[in-house]
């Protein structure tokens, strides 16, 4: 009787007194909260062409407790689909590390045929299930790799960088933006995770879904990039280590941001192999670097507009006076050469620009000083770090006296000013900055580059005026016009003859190393004789149409030897593509060049992406 009483008392105690507590424990036992990863937003070009999307990803997963003999099953699987030793080993390790009912991914991105083979051999493959999920895909592969970037699995470092990490980041295999727009627009693209409450049994197997709250898919991001033009620009740079930026002069929209060579971002999403990664790292043309914003180059003669405007604004010249160029200038016991050994004779501002006389700018820089040059440089957009949603945007360098003192531990010398006047010495600019400068010269507005646009936005951006006197700009623009369109201009061979597409520009050839005396003695006089990495950079900036500017282009070809010979033809082609919906018309080229150009175009056409390859997303 006593025993029965004790039992009854205990029963009452547990079931009536502590029931709530035990009920809670039972609920904790059986209910698991799971996050549902949101669908990542798309990245589209200005016309809705898909740059980054989500593709169906067929994969094969395996559960240890259903598989039984995992080695046997993996062995059979390897006969049906291509599996490397590494993949098999990784799958085995994952399986042994996780609890036996946890599905482990063996292979991803299988073709429909492979998945079908696995499915039809299911009886011989216990525990193996074909599954379908979404994974990031960049259909234009190399084209926009540097702009769009790529996603990858969340790393420890990613989590540490965040104060309150979104719990969705903890989902295994969840991917976040690592580079480029994918990274900088992560918050917009990611969306909000949904959640699902599931009932699990004692070993953690999901028995049923109790309820689910759908997440919000990420927002789409519309870029200002024109995928067709981007593709053209990148292919036009093919074979070079080079960068090209195309900008809408009216609103700063970046239409193309091409850095060659590029790489396939899809490799990174899939988990790049060591061999592929090393290949990218060891390539001397540095495919992983986005040279358009990361690459800093001495702007060379493309900087001369800055020096000219600084002198004009300082009032140290009216622009009409002539300076005599004997081919060199001696300053404090040091001889500074003009690129033309024989000299240009008497040159005014316009011809100094079009013939790129160095001595004229040596003279002007001494008259106005480095401070005014720097001020003008900033005003025209050089030496400024633009806030674009891509990674590693560099600021370039407008070297000041303070900068030299701090970084070189030396006082500023007159020679430094002279070097800076022709964009050499310490001056460094990025191709993006050069494009901004060109657009500002063409419009006299403080246009700012932008990469993301709101497709619903109706009102156009109106950049503030630069307040440069029209007569000064008229001279600068005339100089740039004659550079291309005057017989004596440095880029005369890259002129455009099409009606309404007259192009103005400026070439630049910036020295990386000067040819040493020893080399000169060894007979090296020409750039071609130097090893590739010691040759000069070739630059060209241009805008068109001359009367009503719409497009500004900058081209930098690393170690391209000559601005006129290498960069200018590329700049013209890209400009013509931008003005003519992606393909330069043959009629725009001077008649004598058409045969050669046609040949080049045909060759290029082979590599260009066809319009039907560009998928327009209606999302």
């Amino acid at each position: 009787m006593g025993v029965a009483g004790a039992l009854l008392w205990r029963l009452r105690d547990m079931q009536l007194e502590q029931s709530e507590q035990f009920r809670l424990l039972a609920e904790e036992n059986r209910i698991n909260l799971r996050l549902l990863p949101p669908t990542r937003g798309l990245i589209l070009d200005r016309n809705g062409v898909l740059l980054a999307g989500n593709e169906q990803n067929y994969r094969v997963v395996i559960k240890r407790d259903d598989a039984g003999d995992i080695d046997l099953v993996l062995g059979r699987l390897a006969k049906l689909i291509a599996l490397t030793e590494d993949e098999i080993e990784r799958a085995r390790r994952d399986m042994l590390r996780n609890r036996p009912f946890v599905p482990v991914t063996v292979a991803e991105r299988l073709s429909w045929e492979e998945i079908s083979r696995v499915a039809s051999n299911a009886p011989a493959l216990p525990g193996v299930t074909p599954e379908m999920g979404l994974s990031r895909n960049y259909p234009l592969r190399d084209d926009t790799a540097h702009v769009v970037g790529y996603v990858g699995p969340v790393s420890e470092r990613d989590l540490e960088a965040l104060e309150t990490p979104d719990p969705v980041l903890l989902i295994p295999r969840f991917q976040i933006g690592k580079v480029g727009v994918e990274r900088l627009a992560e918050d917009r693209l990611r969306g909000r995770a949904g959640s699902q409450r599931v009932e699990v049994n004692a070993v953690g197997r999901v028995m049923r879904e109790l309820d689910r709250v759908e997440g919000t898919p990420g927002a789409n991001v519309h870029l200002t990039i024109d995928a067709t033009l981007q593709n053209y620009a990148l292919e036009r740079l093919h074979g070079h280590s080079a960068a090209a930026v195309v900008m809408d002069t009216a609103n700063g929209d970046i239409l193309a941001l091409a850095s060659a060579p590029s790489f396939d971002p899809n490799l990174f999403v899939r988990g790049i192999s060591r061999a592929d990664f090393n290949e990218l790292l060891e390539n001397k043309h540095r495919p992983l670097v986005n040279k358009t914003v990361q690459g800093m180059y001495p702007p060379g003669s493309t900087f001369k507009m800055v020096t000219a405007l600084a002198a004009l604004e300082a009032g140290v010249t009216d622009g009409r006076e002539s300076v005599f160029c004997p081919g060199h200038m001696d300053v404090s016991g040091h001889r500074f050469h003009c690129w033309k050994r024989g000299g240009h004779g008497r040159v005014g501002l316009v011809s100094a620009l079009s013939e790129s006389c160095d001595v004229y700018f040596y003279e002007m820089s001494q008259r106005c000083g480095i401070d005014r040059i720097n001020a003008m440089s900033s005003r025209l957009g050089l030496g400024i770090r633009y806030d674009l949603p891509i990674t590693s945007v560099a600021g370039g360098l407008n070297p000041t006296r303070e900068w030299k003192r701090a970084n070189r531990n030396a006082e500023w010398q007159v020679g430094d000013t002279i070097n800076a006047s022709i964009g050499q010495g310490f001056v460094l600019s990025t191709p993006l900055q050069l494009a901004v400068m060109t657009a500002r010269l063409a419009t006299n507005t403080a246009v700012l580059p932008r990469l993301i646009r709101d497709p619903l936005e109706r009102s156009e951006v109106h950049a503030a005026s630069l307040d440069l006197r029209p007569e000064w700009l008229r001279m600068i623009r005339q100089g740039m016009d004659q550079t291309v369109n005057d017989r004596r201009g440095t880029a005369y061979s890259s002129r455009v003859v099409a009606e309404g597409q007259r192009m103005a520009g400026k070439t630049g050839t910036s020295q990386v190393f000067s040819i040493s005396r020893a080399e000169r003695d060894a007979g090296i006089r020409r750039q071609q004789d130097l090893p590739w990495n010691r040759r000069n950079h070739a630059l060209f900036v241009n805008y068109a149409p001359f009367d009503t500017p719409r497009i500004a282009v900058s081209v930098v070809v690393e170690h391209g030897m000559g601005g006129s010979s290498t960069a200018a033809p590329i700049g013209r082609d890209i400009m013509l593509a931008a003005l003519n919906d992606g393909r330069p018309p043959l009629s725009a080229y001077p008649a004598p060049q058409r045969n050669r150009v046609q040949h080049e175009q045909q060759e290029l056409e082979q590599r260009l992406r066809r319009p039907e390859d560009m998928r327009i997303s209606r999302a």
């Binding site: 029965a4 004790a6 029963l11 009452r12 009536l16 049994n201 028995m207």
Partner: protein, 382 residues
Amino acid sequence: MSYLEYNTRQMPAGLRKVLYLNWPLIVLLILVAGYGFVMLYSVAGGRLTPWAEPQIKRFGAGLVIMFIVAFMPLWFWRSIAGLSYVVALLLLLGVEFFGTVGMGAKRWLVIGPVRVQPSELAKITTVLALAAYYDWLDLKKVSHPLWVLAAVLIAVIPAFLVLRQPDLGTAMLLALGGGVVIFAAGVHWGYFAALIASAAGMVTLVLQSRGTEWQLLKDYQYRRIDAFLDPTIDPLGAGYHINQAMIALGSGGWSGRGFMEGTQARLNFLPEKHTDFIFTTLAEEFGFVGASSLLLLYMMIVAVCLLTAMRTTNRFGALLVMGVIGMFFLYFAVNMAMVMGLAPVVGVPLPLVSYGGSAMIVLMVGFGLVHSAHIHRARLPS
């Protein structure tokens, strides 16, 4: 007293015995077994297979066996008591040498097509033997140390053999069941004080032997004891069973989570949900109402049987009934205490409710003996 003193004229004979069966007991047994059927149906996810249907068939067979046992005259059972005890001992020894291993223990003996579990048989034969022993023994000698020692040996020898299998639960039931008969026979209370003291000694010995070569229990049994002492030590390991059982039981509340709605059982958090831990499933799904009503039914069975024992004037019959009912009481008390965290987890099923054949048949034989004592008790002339 001996069977010669029976007033045979007042004994019911032939089919008339049916009228003299202990009918309230039969009704109670069917009710309790019914609880079992319902729970086995529930833990199988609403299916008769694999547990409920075989259990019903076995119970039916058990009823038939119970009737056969009941109709056999009580003196028949008394006459075979010694023989059956020896047979059971031999079978237990047979298990020691020829037994089949299952779930880490040697419990079964395969004789031709039949698989028998001699430890279950020993529960009945030990009670029979002790009842017959005290029936035979002069009342004056009951508390004499030598005769007490003989009785203790009768109970302890099979218990020891069962412990060697090892089956701690059954061994304890055998020893304690024997103790009930010895107590009922009127042995001096001092012996029981001594027994309790030696039990404490035994527990010490068992715990001390841990880790030595002559370790008396299996490692898993020691872990269960640890877990009993503190279930939270290792909630995913040894304490897992008892923790999950208590969660299931406690979460039932007043009226339970509903038939087939018990999450702990349905999702396999409960171990052995159809055998040793079936009470927790009942408590989870039918709450305090369901669990306490089953306890009440058990107590009613005990009460009905005690009534029979008290009304049985013949010593063998009374001791036999006390032995059977003592064993039965220990069964459910130990099982319930175990799942409520009051006793260590030893493999003791809930009588008539847990899934399992041998235990069911043996219990029904036991209740057949109770009926036999009930039918064949001495009656005053009407």
